[in-house]
Structure formats: C-alpha cells, structure tokens
C-alpha cells in the first residue's frame, strides 16, 4: 500500500511556495464508503433512512493560507498561519440527492472523526470545510454540468447552499438557459450562491512528483518489513484494532440495551460526553432509561443549550441527576416538581435533590385521603364547573383537575388526582 506526493503548481497570494503538496496520482486510499442515516420527512414524521455514500478517494495534502478580501479598502489580506499545515481531503461520488442528505453524511463523518480524535469538528473554526459539487439532470439522463460551491463551514450552510443551488439550476434550465461549470461561494446573509471572481482560463497545474518526500508505505500484519524500527512502521491492522467504538456501533448498542429509538440513540451519541453521562445515570439507578432520557434530553439539554454550556461543564452532574431520577421513579416527586428542582440546581443550588425537596417541602402527596380532601375542597369551591361537568361538558374535568393541583400546590400525584376526583364527581 504505497501512496505518493505531488506538487500542484499555481500562483496565488495565499500559496507562498507557489505550489501545494498533494497526492494527485496515487492517494493514500481509494474505493471506500460511508454508511449514514438521513432523516426523511413523511406524514409530519421524520423517519431515518439508511444510506451509503461512496468515497472515491482520500488524499493527504497541505493547506493554503487564508485570504480575506476587504472590498471597502479594495485590498486583500493574507493570513499564512495555516499555510503548509497537513490536512486530509475526502472525495465522495455524486451520491447525494438533497442538501439534507449531504448534511446527514457530513454529520456522521464529523462524528466519526471526532470519535477517533482526528478532528475537533469545529466547522466554524475551519476544522472541516466542505466543497459541494452540484448538478441536476432528468431521470435516466447523464449527470448535468456541475458547479462547485466552495468553503461551506456549517451544517446548515451545506444544506441551504445545496438546496439553493439545485433550485437555481432547475430554474435556469427551465428558462432555457445553460449551466456553466463555475466556482461559487455561499452568501450566508442572502442565502444565495454567488459566482466567485475566477480565472476563466483552464488551469494546468503542472503536477510533478514531490522530490523531498518519500513514498508513504502502509503495512499490515502480513507485510511487516524487517530492518525498520517500530516508529518507522505504520501498521494498518494495529491501528484498526486500536480504534474506539465508532458512532454506528455505539448507537446500535444503545438501542439494543436500553430500547431507545434510533433518533434517541443518535441524540445521545451525537454529542461528546452525553452518552457517558446517560449511562452513568441509568446504570446506577437501574431505572427506566426512557425516563432518564426524557429528563436529559428535554430539561437538562434545554438549559445547557440556552446557556451554551457543554455537558462536561453542566452544573448538574450525573450523580445529582441520578438522585433526581430515583425520586421520580419512586413517585416521591412529580414530573413538575422534578423540573422545579432542576431549575433550582441550575440556578446555583449545590445541594442534593432529596435535600432540596425536603427544604421546599415538595414531596409528592400520595395519601388518597389527603387527595380526597383537596378534591372535595375544589368541588365545593367550583359549583359552576361541577354543574357544567354534570351537565355533560366532560372537557371541564381538566379545569377541575387544575384547581385540585392549585390547592395542593402542585404536589399531588396526578394519576391519583384524576382517579379520585372522577370518583367523587361520579358519586355526586
């Protein structure tokens, strides 16, 4: 398994050497694929569809510098800090039909790269950039002329740019116009692709083998060479064995073990640290995973996203959430109370949930007699609603339920309330 390096020559202010070292003729890997799941909307629901995209090749190359154009002062600024830094270019076949599909692919790719600690996934910081080649054609016809939308640096950008470009091309063709093979960039403000001021002439890059870099040899257990020290050998088998669990494997494990859906599994696997947090809580409490999931996904993440904090920096650690889950599943507190406790903890209360519940006297009332008291109280104080109910308007039951909860300061166990109130009303 040998790959070689080439020089790709062109003149541009962000390319100080006048050439870029890349792998034009013999890249490090060819003929690959990546399985991913794309969410397709159907009947208001989003169902995951399994897809596979072919990866034509992966090549190692140097990054160029960054050029910024100052239109106002009519000048260009060049930032050379990343010039020469190594990067990996992944080239797929034209296997995507929508912006959503492409975005789903990118998300899965990012997740894998982050899992194996090859990339930090911060697209906005330039850790991963996407160039999208888009074309349209009638079914059964060959692929149309493509345009290239360069330097997309967010998932939403990928989706929007591709969808816009598809629409634009279709519109042009329907008008009877031609599509030109041009390079475009995406304007995030207007949501449109714009043609880059590009040289019309065809570029001959005069590729030449890079004379200063030796061919890159990869080995397997079967092909290990003699006479080289360990630090000179790259063993693909050894690297493969050392890989951590990849996202697809993790998702499957979560679905199998905890009975969660694909979307829920993807949610947990999709953010670094989330799955560990989740399993921490679930394993110790041995409680209903769905309960934990809902609390985590709805309450905890909502708060974290609002404050832009990662799960690692959550003020509510898995230990405390675990205690909350225990209280919930014992029905010691109601869901509403749980939300209140979380709120309190997020605001800075560092006590354990049982202590907080104790302090605020938020224990759920599960004594039927007590509840009956509240129900009778509510009935007494709401003649009108009772009459309406007895008169056939069943919907007002909820209003009466609300009254009961109000009186109980929200601490009454909801199912019992429903049960007992109904009984009492029917008894009347």
């Amino acid at each position: 398994m040998v790959s070689k390096f080439d020089r790709k020559h062109y003149f541009y202010a962000d390319l100080p050497a006048g050439y870029q070292i890349t792998q034009h003729r013999q890249p490090i890997a060819v003929n690959g694929y990546l399985k991913y799941t794309s969410l397709q909307s159907a009947k208001g629901n989003q169902r995951p569809v399994k897809k596979m995209a072919k990866i034509l090749q992966i090549q190692l190359e140097q990054d160029s510098g960054k050029s910024l154009h100052d239109d106002e002062l009519r000048r260009s600024l060049i930032d050379l800090n990343r010039a020469g830094v190594g990067l990996m270019e992944i080239v797929t076949a034209p296997d995507f039909s929508t912006g959503t599909e492409a975005a789903a692919f990118i998300k899965e790719l990012l997740l894998i790269l982050q899992t194996i600690k090859v990339c930090d996934g911060k697209m906005s910081e330039g850790s991963l950039r996407v160039d999208a080649n888009v074309s349209v054609h009638h079914p059964g016809q060959p692929l149309g002329v493509r345009t290239e939308v360069k330097n997309l640096n967010s998932i939403t950008g990928v989706t929007k740019a591709i969808d816009f470009e598809i629409k634009r091309q279709i519109s042009e063709l329907e008008k009877g116009n031609e599509i030109f093979n041009e390079t475009k960039s995406f304007d995030y403000v207007t949501g449109k692709t714009v043609t880059m001021r590009d040289k019309e002439r065809l570029q001959d890059y005069r590729f030449m083998p890079e004379p200063n870099l030796l061919p890159l040899r990869l080995y397997t257990n079967d092909t290990l060479p003699t006479g080289l020290s360990d630090d000179q050998i790259v063993n693909v088998d050894k690297l493969r064995d050392s890989l951590p669990l990849l996202p697809a494997q993790k998702r499957q494990a979560v679905q199998d073990k905890y009975g969660l859906s694909y979307n829920q599994a993807q949610f947990l696997v999709g953010e670094e640290g989330l799955l560990e947090y989740f399993t921490d809580v679930v394993e110790e409490t041995n409680r209903d995973p769905l309960l934990t999931y809902n609390l985590l996904a709805n309450q905890v993440l909502m708060y974290l996203n609002r404050e832009d904090i990662s799960i690692h920096n959550s003020p509510v650690c898995s230990k405390r959430l675990k205690e909350l889950v225990v209280l919930l599943s014992h029905k010691t507190i109601s869901l509403n109370t749980a939300k209140k406790v979380l709120e309190v903890m997020f605001e800075g209360d560092t006590r354990l949930p049982p202590d907080i519940v104790e302090h605020h006297n938020w224990k759920q009332i599960t004594d039927p007699d007590k509840i009956e008291e509240y129900c009778l109280d509510a009935i007494t104080k709401n003649h009108k609603l009772v009459s309406l109910y007895k008169g056939g308007k069943k919907k007002v039951f909820q209003n009466l339920v609300g009254q009961v909860h109000k009186m109980a300061y929200g601490r009454a166990e909801p199912n019992l309330v429903n049960e007992i109130l109904k009984k009492k009303l029917d008894q009347m």
């Binding site: 020089r7 006048g18 050439y19 030449m208």
Partner: protein, 547 residues
Amino acid sequence: MQNLKEVLNQLKTNHLSAEALCEQCIQRLRKTQDLNAYVSVSDSKARRQAQKAQQIYNSGKNIRKLEGIPIAVKDNYSTTDIQTSCASHMLLGYHPPYNATVVQRLLDQGAILMGKTNMDEFAMGSGSVNSIFGPVKNPWKYPFNKKTQNNQSSDYDVRAASNKKTSMDYSANPSKNDSNQETQYVTETDHVTESDQSQAWYVSGGSSGGSAVAVATASCLVALGSDTGGSVRNPASYCGVVGYKPTYGLVSRHGLIPLVNSMDVPGILSKTVDDTAAVLDVIAGHDELDSTTVTDPRVPFNLPDVSRIDIKSFHIGIPKEYHVPTLPGETRQTWQRAADIFENAGAKVSQVSLPHMQYSIVCYSVLNACEVASNMACYDGIEFGHRASTSDSTEALYASTRHQGFNEVVRGRILAGNYFLLKRNYDKYFLQAQRVRRLISQDFANIFKEGIDVLLTPTTLSDAMSYTDYISEDNRTRCEKEDLFTQPVNMAGLPAINIPMEISTSGLPVGLQLIGQSFKDKRLLTISKWFEHQVNFPYSDLVNSIE
C-alpha cells in the same frame, strides 16, 4: 602547503595560534580580492571567533574537531549571520532566519566562517560567470602583479558587475539587517569592469567557483559547495583542488537553497582527500529536517594511511562512452596516464560500458528545468526577497518581481520547465527523462555488480577556458558541454570526486574524476587518497605565484 591534519596539530601543540591562522587567511583573501571569489566577508567576526578558539586551545579542554579552522561557504547555503543571495537580485540583502544543517554542524565543531562565496546565479551554470556580482576568476595564470593589491580596512567592497546590461528599477541596497556590521557591501555597476575585459583571465568553473578559488588561494582551508550536475567537481578541476560530491542521501540538504531536489548534494572543496574525509565526517548523517537523508547509522570516515592502502585489491573501470569525439588529445593522454598509474601499481583496470550515457545530458537538462520551474515558484516578492514596485495587480507584481529578480538563464529554465510539465507534455518529457534516468542508474549499477570498485574518467573536456572564449557561447550550450562528464553521476546519485593531477601545457590544472558506488564513499575516498599521493599535484606553484 597546509592541510587540515597538520594545521590542527600545530594549533594543538601551540606552534600556530588560531588568531595567526585566521589573519593569514584574511591577508590572502585581500591579496586575491580581484578574483571575486567572495560575495560577503566576515573578517571582524572571524577574528573574534579565532580569539575564542585560541582560548579553548589554551585551556586544552573540549577542543572540537574543527576548532579554529577557517572555512568558506557557497552563497546558496542559508546562514543567519550573513546575507544569502544565491548571486541573484531576487535574494540580495536576504538574511535567512536559520543556518543550513551542514553549516551548523561545521560551526558546532568550531569552524570559523570567513565568508560566503560567489557562484552562478541560483547555481545555474558551469563557469561562475553568471553572477550579479561579476564573474569569479581562476587564480591560475591570473595577472596578479599587474593589479594594485588593495590593502583596505576591513569589510571591503566587492565591486559588482553584470555581464549584460540589464535595466532594473531596483537600486542596490544591501544588508537591510543592521545587526551584522561586518558583512560586505555590494555596489552594483551597470557595466563590466576594466579588469573583466582588458586582461586575459580564465574562468574558475562552476557553479561553486568562488568556493574552489577560496580553497585554491588558501583564504580558507576547506569550503562548501553544491553539486547538481558537476558544480563542485567542475571548478575543482579548473582550479586544481579536490572537489567531492557525496552519495545522494548521505548529507543533509536542509538550508541549501534547492536547484534540483533530486540531484543536489552538498559538496566539499579542499586540498587533500584526508581533509575532505574529515569534513565529511562532521557534516554527513541523517537529518530529521531532510527526509531524503538515509537513516542508517553513521560510520566514521577516517581513511587508512597511504602505505596501508593495497591498490592491487581494487578494480578500476574505464567507461568507453566517455571517449567522446570532442575530447581533446591532451585530456585523453592525461586520462591514459592516470589509468596507467593504477595498472602499473597492480590494480585491475578494465574497459566498461555505460550504454545509455549519450542520452544523459539531454535528460538531465529536461529534469533540471522541470525542478527549477517548480522550486523557483516561491519567489514572488511577497514574503521575502526582491519586490517590484508595481501595484496594478498581484499578477503584475509577480511578473515584474520575477522578471527583475531573475537573470535570463533562470528565466529560460523556468519557461522550459513549465513547458515540459504541462499536462500534454508530461509523459513525453518528464516521465520519459525519468525512465531514461533509471536506465542510466542501472548502467552504473550493472558495472559495480560485476566487481568494479570505481570508474576513472576526465572531469571536464579540457582545462579552464579564457573568459572571452567561455562567454562566446550561451549558458545552455556551455552547460551541455561542460557538464557532460559530471552530470550522469548526479542522475544516478553516486559519489564522485575530482583529483587534481597535473598542470597542462597551457599552465592550467587538469583533474581526473573517480566515480564510486552508492554509499561506498569511504572506498572511493580511500582509492582517491592513494591516487592523490601518486600524482602529487603541485599546489605550491599557485601559492608562489600569488605571494
């Protein structure tokens, strides 16, 4: 004559002081200033370093391998203290932020840098005549007493001249770096100086002409050159010194401004093979910063005494394809005499064949131009070096900068190289040349496989040409002729050496080339040492003519 071993011994035993040695070299440098061997001279700093070296010798402790030894370095090696110009307007006044690995290794062993030597611009040439500082002159038969020998204060001016009138909107303003006060100054004139035209003088060969002259005139003991197609061996032959090209991959190229990455090798100019081995010992070996250096563990290069070299155990090959029709009779005879020396002493001498040699020079020219076009792409005037004052567009800036910064030779090779590398031409020219290159490599390998130890050939077609004769043909034509015998060695990555043998009937040095097997540098040097001892080249003839 001073050689390294003797000098080091004298320094160690207090028969010679480092300061006196340094002073001697500086004086010789001044006396031979007209030869234009140096671009930059750092005599003040050298004197200070000599003082320090003397202190070390006085203490008798931690004496390094080259403590106090004056060296000169070709001006295409990056040096932090002194300007690195490659004899080009493009890099005039450029001060690199680091030392080339080989330079650093020499300095780390106590060597003292006398200055940077003159060369063909960007090492493109075989005469050292294409330099913005004017041509380098061969000390042999140079009309010294007809010139006023300047005894100036330190840091003299090197008068620069250009062979052809080129108009530039660049006005020479060297040395933008204020921290080094001792570097030379270049004043440029648009016209060829008197001495260049009036008196007859001979070319020094190239492109490492300055280094060869520096060693020949003893303004330093050893010097670094670079050899891509013969640029160390050629001037060594013309100036009568030992010029060594190591195996490709033995010595680091980091900091050597590249001409042809796949053929460039740092080379050593000296007066004895022992000196060469001593310097090779210091500079050779793997460098992390150069991936093309081999990682094999280093073996020291100390050579046996001449008396212990059994020449009978070696087999010398004479490649018949080197008998070209244009080979002058005198060279042929010298070559024959050399072969006889080996045979008479009992070595086995046989004729061998390099069937593809006739194609070598053409392929070399193609590959050279291709790599040049690529390597010169970094000179855009943006980050360093000369920048034209155009502000119309980036493209216009690049074009002006490169037109002003490069001479015609450089520009010509860039254009040719770009042509060869075009997609439609790549297979026909670049790939084809590489295929033939492999055949040439194999030709050599086959010979060595049959038991040949070294090949014996002339280094150059003849002795040095007069300047007027030399420039009667353009650079490209000239190189094609002058590089004929030396460039196949670079195509195959082999080690080779020029040993000065005798003085020609014209009174100029004639050298012979020995070519060895890849990574068998020690064997090549051993055989060379024996041969050198037999021919006993009259170095003192030159020294006497100067003093």
